[in-house]
């Protein structure tokens, strides 16, 4: 069961990584999105952007070699690759807002058929707040949602219309889940790919929005 969980998350991360192109500047959100860095095809070079102020995120440091001033946006110690650069928060978000970030990969509480995304406010809690998510979804050239297809108790996360407070309106381009890949089009969700072993009927049954399989 735990292995299955891990395989599902790895499928998502691996599949998102296939969307990256050589030279892309990419921001990865917390959780499954962070795992995408492990699956970048070896023949391409991707530059990872950290909204707390640098480009060129490198691998985790060896234990004892951490620089306390170099963390990623999730608070974990990381490194910076040769050719990377640090900057302040206006530049970090100027890169996003100014069209210099090719891809943002984010998780979701809910995502809908119009490309609306909800991932910042949990009903009944004051927080956690949007952090950089609203800037990311409105600024990145391409927004990919990487998410498990359903919640832990089996409810669909992909819906006709988000019920939770939105992070952004009509900003999601692609949804990669553990069941497959869906493109958000003006006419709704379009099936791009099924995870091997998944049928379109299963996918549709676990999705609270209509899925077309032809453009």
């Amino acid at each position: 069961m735990k292995n299955d969980n891990r395989a599902r998350r790895e499928y998502i991360a691996r599949r998102v990584a296939q969307e990256l192109k050589d030279g892309d500047v990419v921001n990865l959100g917390i959780g499954i999105p962070t795992m995408v860095a492990n699956f970048v095809p070896p023949e391409i070079t991707v530059i990872f952007h950290s909204e707390n102020g640098f480009v060129g995120i490198g691998p985790s440091p060896q234990v004892g070699e951490e620089d306390p001033d170099i963390i990623n946006a999730g608070g974990q110690p990381v490194t910076i690759l040769p050719g990377g650069a640090f900057f302040d928060s206006t530049v970090a978000f100027g890169i996003i807002r100014g069209g210099h970030l090719d891809i943002a990969v984010l998780g979701a509480l809910e995502v809908d058929a119009q490309g609306n995304l909800a991932n910042w406010a949990i009903p009944g809690r004051s927080g956690p707040g949007m952090g950089g998510a609203m800037d990311l979804v409105s600024g990145a050239k391409r927004v990919i949602v990487a998410t498990e297809h359903t919640t832990k108790d089996g409810r669909p996360k992909i819906v006709e219309r988000c019920s939770l407070p939105l992070t952004g309106g009509q900003i999601v381009d692609l949804i990669v889940s553990d069941l497959g890949v869906l493109e958000v089009t003006p006419a709704g969700l379009l099936l791009k790919e099924l995870r091997p072993g998944v049928t379109i009927d299963e996918l549709q049954a676990k999705t609270a929005a209509e899925i077309r399989d032809k453009p």
Binding site: S89, R125, G131, M134, G169
Partner: protein
């Protein structure tokens, strides 16, 4: 115009009820000593402006846990359940601002812009109470400058005049806040004589900094 003083003398310039900007991102780049001393001095009823709520005993969390904060303007609180509990109890009023907008609003205050137009938050709940301005057929939210009475910031290195240099991801909001408060207090890990920092490498020019405090040890553990 000697700007160097002790943390206690510096922090005593902060008045009860002040609006205080505090640098750092999850505690990295936070002026830990100034915050520890401020928490001890019990200067309360503060409005804080910061990137995130950090952790209960690290960064701005020190002020929150000490009960000094009545209002928090920030982008994220998810790492600090203490602030959520206090918000739920009606003790702290929390206002969330998208992180990039927060950074740019602080810069706008520092650089003297009357406002900026952004798309972050369009079509969301944060549109509420804001003007939407159309420019060449596109919609933007008008976001106003955000300033403070005091900025508490942290740099890796500073000279006696107040020139500052940051290291790594500890830069974050610090150079922005240095421009946007009436009183700017900078904590520096290393204090050097004037002239030691190459003028090309200064990240915050001395004219923005009023008071310099050298870190002498941080009271309270980190995270």
């Amino acid at each position: 115009m000697e700007k160097v003083m002790t943390a206690v003398d510096a922090v005593n310039r902060v008045k009860r009820g002040s609006t205080v900007m505090i640098g750092g991102f999850l505690g990295v780049g936070a002026p830990q000593q100034l915050l520890a001393v401020l928490a001890k001095q019990m200067i309360n009823e503060l409005t804080i402006i910061c990137c995130a709520a950090d952790y209960p005993h690290n960064g701005v969390g020190r002020l929150i846990s000490a009960g000094l904060v009545k209002r928090a303007i920030l982008s994220h609180s998810g790492t600090n359940l203490e602030i959520e509990a206090r918000a739920a109890a009606g003790e702290i009023e929390v206002e969330f601002i998208p992180q990039g907008t927060l950074a740019e609003r602080i810069r706008a205050a520092g650089m003297g812009l009357g406002g900026i137009l952004v798309t972050a938050g369009l079509g969301t709940a944060i549109e509420k109470g804001k003007r939407t301005i159309e420019v060449d057929g596109n919609s933007f939210l008008l976001e106003k400058p955000l300033k403070a009475d005091v900025a508490l910031i942290k740099a890796a290195r500073g000279d006696h005049a107040g020139n500052l240099v940051y290291h790594g991801a500890a830069r974050n909001f610090n150079p922005l806040m240095a421009t946007a408060a009436d009183l700017v207090i900078a904590e520096v890990a290393e204090l050097v004589p004037v002239g030691e920092i190459n003028p090309d490498q200064v990240m915050t020019p001395a004219i923005f900094v009023d008071i310099i405090v050298q870190t002498t040890g941080i009271e309270g553990g980190i995270k």
